[in-house]
Amino acid sequence: MLTMLKINQLHKSYPIGDSSLHVLKGIDLSVESGEMVAIMGSSGSGKSTLLNIIGMLDEADSGDYILDDVPIRDLTEKKAAIYRNKFLGFIFQSFNLITYKNAVENVALPLYYQGLKRKERIEKALFHLGKVGLVDWAKHLPNELSGGQKQRVAIARALASNPKLLLADEPTGALDTKTSYEIMEFIQELNDEGKTILMVTHEEDIANMCKRIVRLKDGVIMEDTFVNQVRASQYV
C-alpha cells in the first residue's frame, strides 16, 4: 500500500500570555492510502490542532510532514492554497457553506480555484451533488436545506476537486444521531471506493465506524489500534 501521509516528531505550541501551551508533543503518525482513521481525544488533547496541521490550515513548529510523497514545509500562503486545493477535501462540523451561494455554486467553488471553466465546473458540481443525492436541491441556498443536507453539500464540495485525502472535523457534531449515521454511511461508501479519510471525533460510536482509531491525550498518541469497522448502514 502507498503511504498517504507520514508525520515525524511533530511539535506545536501556542503562546498564552507570557508562557506557551505545548499542544502537540512529538506526534508520529503514518497513514496508508485507503485508510479510514478516527482521531479521538478529550478536548485539549490536540486532536483538532493535528488535523489543522495535516490540513495545512495551521503550521507545526517542528517535525516532518510528508503528504503523498510531497514534503510539506516552508509553506507560503500561495503554496498552501495550491496544495489544499490539489490534495485535500475538508468537511467541517458547522458545514461552512457560503450562505449566499446555492448548493451547486458551493460545490463548484473549489473548481473555480482550480481554474476550470464555468460550464465544466457546473457539470462536475452537479455530478457530485448527484452522488450525495441532492441534484434536485442544486438551486437551493444553504438556509433552505436541513443539517444533513448541508453536510452532504459540504461533502460533495470536498469531493469536487477529487482530493487524495478527505479531512473531517467532527463531521457529525452538529447532527442528530439518525442523520449522523446517514452521513457516516456515506463517508464509509467513499472509503469503500478508495478515498483516504481522516476524521476527528469524540463520539465512540462514530469512531468505531472507522477502521483505525488514534487516541490522543495531552499532545501525545496514547493508543493506535485497528478496529472492526461498524457499518453505519445497519442503523439506517
Binding site: L57, A81, R84, F90, N96, Y100, Y113
Partner: protein, 409 residues
Amino acid sequence: MFDIDLWREIFQSINMNRTRSVLSGFTVAFAILLFTILFGISNGLLNTFAEGFVDDANNSIGIWPGTTSKASNGLQANRRIQFTNDEYDFLKDEFGDKIQFMTSRVLKNANASFRGEKNSYPFRAIHPDNFYIEQNKVQEGRYINQRDIANKTKVAVIGRLVEEDLFLKTKALGKYININGLQYKVVGIFNDEGGDDEERMIYIPLTTAQQVYGNNDFIDFIYLTYDPKMDSDAALVFGNTIKKKLKNRFSVAASDQRAIRIDNKAQGTKAVEMIKFAIGILVLVIGFGTLIAGIVGVSNIMIFIVKERTKEIGIRKALGAQPKSIVSIILIESILITIIAGFFGLFLGMGILDLATPVLEENFIKEPGVSTALVVGATITLITAGAIAGYLPAKKASRIKPIVALRDD
C-alpha cells in the same frame, strides 16, 4: 485581464448582500453629494463677485479735481483746481510705461433730439482710449478715433439705447443728431455690459467739446488703466504716486484730501481678490474635508466588509483560494460600490443644484454649478484613495489564517 468569473463572483456578492452594499455606498454618495453642492454654491458666490465688476476694466484709475480744503504755499483754501490737457500730457510723460490706456474727459449733459424725439443723456468728450477702459463694444460703424481728435470733427458715437430711444424705426448710423443745438453725425453705435445707464450715453471727440464749450483746453476727468501685470498692491501705490505728483503740481497741501480725487479700482480688486482667496480656502477645506470623510468612509466599508466576510474568506482559503484572489475580490467589490455610489452622489448633487438655481440666484449666488471635470476628478480621487485605503484591510484579509477565520462564528 478580464476575468468573467471574478466579476460574476463580485456581482453575486453585491447582489446577495444588498443591505450591506447600499449602506456602505451611502457614505460615499453622501460625501460626493455634499462636495458637489457646497462646491457649486461657492462657485456661484465667486461668479457673483466676478459679475459685480464687469462694467469697466478692473485695472482702471479715475482722477478728477476738487476744491482745496487747506491753505498751502501761500495760497488760500477753497481754491478750485482745474485740469487741462497739460495734466494729461504730464501723466503720459511721467508714467507712460505704467499706463496701458488713458483718456481725458469733458463731462456735459446732452439734450439730444432726432426729428420729433427728445431726451437728455450724459455726454462725454473723450480720447479714443476710452473704448478700452470702458470696455465698450462697437455694434455698428466705428468709435471715436485719432483723426476726430486732430480735426475736431463733429461726430458722435451713441449707446445702443440712445438709438432705440430717439431713432425708433430708422437706423441712426450716418444720420445727424442734434445735441445742445449742434448737429453731430452719428458714426457709431456701441453697447456695454455695464448696464442700461452705460448704454444711454453719447461720446464725442475731446477736442470738439473743448472748442464748442468755451474754446479752452479744460478737462474734467482723467481715466486710465495701469499695466495689468501690476498686482493690486503695486497699483494702489501707483495711484497714490499719481495723487502726490498732481498735488505737488497744483501746490496742494499733502494732507489735503479734497483737491485731487482718485478712484482706484485696485482697492475693489484687492477686496475681491481677498474674498476670492477666502472662498478658495473655504472650498479647499470643504473639498479636503469631504474627501477625507469619504476616504474614511471607504476604509470603514472595507474593514466592515473584511470583518463580515472573515468566515467566508476562511472557507474560500480552505478550498484553495490564493491570497491574490481574496484581495481582488474584496477590493474590486468595494471599488465598484464606491464608483456607483460616487457617481450617484455626483448626479444627485448636480440635480439638486440645478433645481435650486432659481432660489440661489435670488440670493446673490450666480450660476451655481461645478465643472464636470472637477467633480469627476474628485470622484476618481475618492475611488483611488479609497482603493489605497482599502488595500490594507483587503491585504490583511488575505493573510487571515483559515483556521482562525473558520473559528469565527
